[in-house]
Every structure is written in C-alpha cells, then in structure tokens.
C-alpha cells in the first residue's frame, strides 16, 4: 500500500503533507498525555513489531502479495494516538532508510496507513465491542474485524487521493473497484493476524491492552504496583 513518488501529483501530495503534519502534531500531543512514562518502551515495541511484520509479504492472489498494515493492531494495543505515532515512525523509517514509499508521498502514506487505520480502525473496534459482551474473546474478535475494515478504509483513502490528484488515466470507479477488491483479501489476513496478536497479549499481559482496559482483568494487582511506582 506504500505509494511511490509519481502516482499522485505534487500539489495533492504536498497538500496532504501539510494536513498530516498538523494532524500528527495533535496526535503526538495526545499520545504524550495518555502514555504512562513507564510504558514508553511499549510504544517502541509496537513500532518495531509493526516494522517487522510489514516486511512479511504473503501471496494473497495470483501475482499479488500483501502485508500487515498494523494500524488497527497498534491502536488496540496502545490506543489510537500512540498507535498512529508508532506506525508513522515505521513509515518514516521505511521511506528514509529503505526507499520504501516515496518521499513526496510520505504525507499520503502516513494518512492512509497510520492515521486512517489507527483512528478509523479504533472507531470500528469501539463500535464492534458495543454490540458484543464484555469479554476478552470479544476484544479479540472486535480487533480482528476492525483490522480487516481498516485495510479497506486505507484502500478507499488512496482511491480518494487518486480521484483528487492521480496521474493515471484509469477512471476512479475502476481504480476504486480494483483497490477494494484486492484489499478485502488483504484485510482478511490483517484481521486474522491482528486477532492472533491481540489474543497472545491478552493471554500474557492483559493489562497492557489499551482496548481491554474496561475489562479490569487483574487490575487490582497491576494498579497496586502502578501506585507504588508513581509515588
């Protein structure tokens, strides 16, 4: 899903970069408010894990591969603001060190793969949890569902950008159909992997799952420790 230089015209790319810089600034401030300082390494881990799994392209259809975007996963684990920052760091490192994702398209890529997936994915997660029971397994299912939807939202965001400033000659409905079609498949994989990872963290350190804070799993023991550290 990384947009290279040239797919979207310079004006649209630059405009998106300005909007995203503002949005990312606000997201950073929000992230600073919500992240407990003791848990800062968790943000590093989420970014590192998303980077690693983004390297793992798997075949999804004839001649096509896909990899985890990770925005919804990050949002469920550390909250949408910190999660969006983590994935933005991944995208920045990929563009600057590994020539993956165009420099002029960095704003677009952060918009599509960090902001839309983390905030959009988390919104879907919250809505999905509302219609399910308050159990850890509901968190796992909601996370998987939200992750799948987030990939399609990301594909739609690209389509919108293509409609505004795409350099190609293919019509917008054609691109929209193709993008959604292939990303529904990739989204299914995203959903399964996200559910597995959230399930694994819930099984080991449920108190570290932002999206499961309301379940208060073993909060008595962990909050006791937290108070001691804070005082």
């Amino acid at each position: 899903m990384h947009i290279p230089d040239g797919f979207i015209d310079g004006t649209t790319s630059a405009g998106a970069a300005v909007v995203v810089a503002g949005g990312l600034g606000a997201t950073l401030r929000r992230a600073g408010e919500v992240l407990d300082e003791r848990r800062v390494p968790l943000a590093g881990l989420v970014a590192a894990f998303v980077f690693a799994v983004q390297m793992l392209n798997v075949p999804v259809a004839s001649g096509t591969s896909g990899h985890l975007l990770g925005g919804a996963l990050a949002a469920v684990l550390v909250g949408p603001a910190v999660g969006a920052v983590c994935v933005s760091v991944v995208l920045g490192v990929q563009a600057l060190l590994f020539a993956d994702g165009g420099l002029s398209a960095l704003g677009l890529n952060i918009l599509n793969m960090a902001l839309v997936t983390a905030f959009g994915g988390y919104a879907v997660f919250v809505l999905a949890r509302r219609v399910m029971s308050r159990t850890p397994s509901s968190v796992v299912v909601a996370a998987g569902f939200a992750a799948a939807v987030s990939v399609v939202l990301s594909a739609l965001a690209f389509t919108l950008e293509y409609a505004v400033g795409g350099t190609g000659t293919a019509s917008v409905p054609t691109v929209a159909g193709a993008m959604v079609g292939v990303h529904v498949l990739i989204g299914i994989g995203e959903g399964v992997i996200t559910a597995l990872v959230v399930g694994a963290v819930l099984a080991t350190r449920p108190d570290l799952v932002w999206g499961a804070r309301d379940l208060a799993i073993d909060q008595a023991a962990t909050s006791h420790v937290a108070e001691k550290v804070a005082s």
Binding site: V40, A43, A52, L56, N57, D100, V182, T204, A220
Partner: protein, 115 residues
C-alpha cells in the same frame, strides 16, 4: 481479588524483551522468505496502467535501500540485516519520540497546576 485467576505471567521488562525477540526473529529469519510479488496497490497500478508513473526514489541509493544492506552479497543475510536495522531504529525512534513528548507534557506550565 485473590480469588481471581492471574493471567499475568510476564514482568513488563520480560514482555518487552520477548516481544523484541519475536520482532527480530521475524525480521531476520522470516522476512528473506517474503513474497516478492507486487503488493495490492502496485498490482492495481500495473493492471490499471499507472505503474509507469512511478518515479525513482530520492533515497534509492541509500546503503539500505530496498531492504538490502549494501556490500552484503548473500541475499537472505542482506535482507535479514536490513530487518534487524529497521527493528532497532523503529524501536529507538518511537520510544524516544514518546519519551520526549511525554516529558514535554509533564513539565509544561499547564501541567504544573494541580487539577
């Protein structure tokens, strides 16, 4: 709350360490086996005729461009090392950025006022 089962089995440090090991293993050992097929967007670009619009990457000559470490001839090792570098850099930058915004937040005048 003693009657509640305690699913917490890892200390925080151990959890972070275990997570990093998983990320490093995936980046070093698994990523060289990743599919080289175009991803969803690139496939659409090829099928719908705008793949040619792609321009060369400004940092295409970087020593780690394309997830390959320049000077390392073995393809698997080269990609694996790029993965290790990426995991280390993303962990440091994301952790460092969060530490900076967290500290800036805590020491700002607004935060000094008790609420």
């Amino acid at each position: 709350m003693k009657g509640v089962s305690r699913p917490v089995r890892f200390g925080f440090g151990a959890f972070i360490a275990a997570g990093l090991i998983v990320a490093l293993v995936l980046a070093f050992f698994v990523s060289p086996s990743a599919s080289g097929n175009p991803d969803g967007l690139n496939k659409v670009a090829i099928d719908k005729g705008f793949a040619d619009a792609e321009k060369d990457h400004a940092f295409g000559d970087a020593p780690t461009a394309g997830y390959e470490v320049r000077g390392v001839d073995d393809d698997r090792l080269s990609t694996g090392l790029a993965g290790i570098i990426g995991v280390a850099v993303t962990f440091s930058v994301a952790g460092g950025a969060m530490l900076i915004v967290r500290r800036a937040r805590r020491t700002s005048p607004a935060e000094a006022v008790p609420h």
